[in-house]
Amino acid sequence: MSAAAARIDSFSFHGDAGAALRNVQLSVRPGTLTAVLGGSGSGKTTLGKLLAGWLRAGHSGVLHGSLALGAEVLEFRGGSGDPRINPAAWSGRVGYVPQDAGAILSSVRSTVAEELAFGLENRGVARPEMIRQVARIAEQTGLSALLDRDPAQLSGGELRRLAVACAVIVEPQVLVLDEPLASLDAEGAGELRALVDGLLDAGTAVVLLSQAADALARNAGHWIILDGGTAVAEGPPADVEKGAVLRDAGVLAEGPDTGTPVRLPTAAAVAPGSVVPGSVAPAAAVPVLELRGIGFGYAAAKTPTGRPAKGPAGSLPASDLLRGVDLTVLPGEIVAITGTNGTGKSTLLRHFNGLLRPQAGEVLVEGRSIAGIRTGRIAASVGLLFQQPRDQLFERTVLREVGFGLRRLAGSPEAAAGRAQEALAAVGLSDAAQAHPAELASSRQRLLALATVLARRPAVIALDEPTVGLDRHGIERLQHATAAAAARGAGVVLVTHDLAYARTNAHRVLALDGGSLREL
């Protein structure tokens, strides 16, 4: 008998015209691991939330199909007579851990122990029992040492374990994990895998939602591949992996086949038949970006706006993040900077367009120093893509987003519109021109932010961890777009912890180590 089963004939959100899910069936047995794989926007999260009662028929959208827990079956016909799920009771049987681990927290509890007890408090559990349950679950998930800490100050791995503990404390029979390994380092990932093994041994059915066929997914007994809201393949992993269905659905396959290597244009190459304006032999080319002896440290920085605190000339405190960084980027060159978390890669990128000002050394863009020029003006020459694109998006449609500020740069409205369409085509978003940016899947939001940078045709393009959160299609688009920009004569700098991607896609790979750059 299955622990939980879902048959989704169709599900659409209120206010959306099309169905988010069509013809998907899922059935999980106790003690098994099932993996639902799909690219960004394929409907995995929607399926997971429907199974767990986080999205409910009538409340969140219109559902045709059925949900079953054990022997209880609920039928939904999309009308007002459908059963209304009690979310608290349902989550006692099926738990869900969201992709953003912090989203499951109540945010109004000041210690980890109280956060864990939040669900029990709402169910009226007696205090001695609560204390016992909290201790038990902390033991199981390795949180015993953190019970008095403030949840807002936990590290990524600790937060993920807390999120799993909050879902598991009520002892559900099924647990749905949405992208559990995202943004975890190797240690955190190992801890999480051990946790999942423990849950499977105890008889819980685990459903894994993922964009990549990674080691955890390969442990699964059953795979379902989603693409565009429907199931395109199902079965044991060995069977599904044969053929191109994974690639077509946008699922990343980890292993020797990471990303398709793109033939990189050399810095001085000129595509046959086109002329790159201003291109000269590399030795005589003016670097688009030059960093000379950059020194920077947060402890000494004065204000959040980055006004430099002038230290004594030539001597910098030992606590500085960046010390004597030199970097030269020629037009058409792609440079990758790698390094572990916390070494200052993002900090370095923020010096390119003046968001942070160096305490020593200078930054030159296209041969001119940027000291004293406001960031907004430097942005015409330096395009910076943040890790979290949401903060940059503010228009109502994708097309207006890309077109922002273009009229001044391009000269005429026609030229601006042309550039906007071109940028959208380069990232594969032409079909979404009238969509609301906030409604795009996260992978496509990233690509939209990239399009806004490309449309302005800056001389320097800086990308902060561009591969995080992108599915296979997204990564291909990224590769093509950066190669095209480099061919056009821009200098591209990418910061990434993915060494394999860096080696296949950059002319040069540098490592940020001990505050300065060295070749790899």
Binding site: F13, R84, N86, R93, R123
Partner: protein, 275 residues
């Protein structure tokens, strides 16, 4: 842990609690109305500290009591999707309100969040946001607490306007705001007059001074000032809230049953999608 049933009972079977809630709502509204009438009738002819203190206590007691009764009636039945938006709305109120307060202009702009919630979730939620917002803001700025009843009124009227479809077109929203401002300004005037003896800003204080120079009583002067500042302020507030509501993606706004049921926002509601 006890086994709860997996489904909720039908919505109609909650009739038991409704009359008590209705009584609390009526009691709250009555307290506010009665206090206002009492203050207007008994306003001291000779203004001096003693009688002002009496009026202050009556105003504070009556209005706060009314606001708390309304809150107690409405709060337990608000759905979670509304409750999680309330901190966002209150933060909008507080941040903008404090900013405007420090510029000295005769505007408040401290009800944008309240109106936004009223548009999305209805008059009851709007009123609750007004009261709760005043209570939370008073943790940083205690002088806003006495105006809780006025804030509740703004939220309530905004919700009614949304229900009547006044937010479907951009040019109706400021009109609704203007009318709300008239009513809310008049109701809040006694608080400003008796609890504070004036207004909290220099711009508004200057307007009151002008009327006082013409010989009006304090309450009359402040009421006239309110009739000048509040309608314009609320018209702006309603417009900004409408802009924000339309800037949100439809999936977010249409999850609220109030928006769907009363067609609060313009735009085609999609019919049942073909399989």
């Amino acid at each position: 842990m006890s086994q709860q049933p997996l489904t909720l009972p039908d919505a109609g079977s909650r009739a038991g609690a409704a009359p008590r809630r209705r009584m609390l709502e009526i009691a709250g509204a009555a307290a506010i109305a009665a206090t206002y009438v009492f203050l207007v009738l008994t306003q001291p002819v000779e203004i001096a500290n003693g009688p002002a203190s009496f009026s202050a206590l009556v105003a504070l007691g009556g209005f706060l009591l009314g606001a708390v009764l309304l809150l107690a009636a409405v709060l337990p039945v608000l759905p979670t999707s509304t409750l999680v938006l309330m901190p966002v709305a209150i933060v909008l109120n507080v941040v903008l309100g404090q900013l405007m307060g420090s510029t000295g202009l005769p505007f408040y702009l401290d009800a944008i969040g309240t109106v936004l919630i009223a548009v999305l979730a209805g008059p009851a939620a709007g009123a609750a946001t007004g009261v709760l917002g005043s209570i939370v803001w008073s943790f940083f700025n205690p002088t806003v607490l006495p105006f809780a009843a006025g804030a509740a009124l703004i939220g309530f009227l905004a919700g009614l306007a949304a229900r009547a479809g006044l937010f479907r077109r951009f040019y109706f929203a400021p009109v609704a705001g203007f009318l709300t401002g008239i009513l809310a300004g008049v109701v809040s005037a006694p608080i400003a007059a008796f609890v504070f003896g004036g207004t909290a800003g220099l711009g508004t204080g200057a307007i009151v001074s002008a009327f006082r120079a013409m010989g009006d009583t304090l309450l009359a002067a402040i009421t006239k000032q309110a009739l000048i500042s509040d309608p314009m302020d609320k018209a702006i507030v309603f417009t900004i809230a409408a802009l924000l509501a339309y800037a949100l993606p439809r999936r977010t706004t249409f999850q609220f049953a109030f928006v769907r049921r009363f067609r609060v926002l313009a735009g085609k509601v999609p019919s049942d999608p073909a399989a």
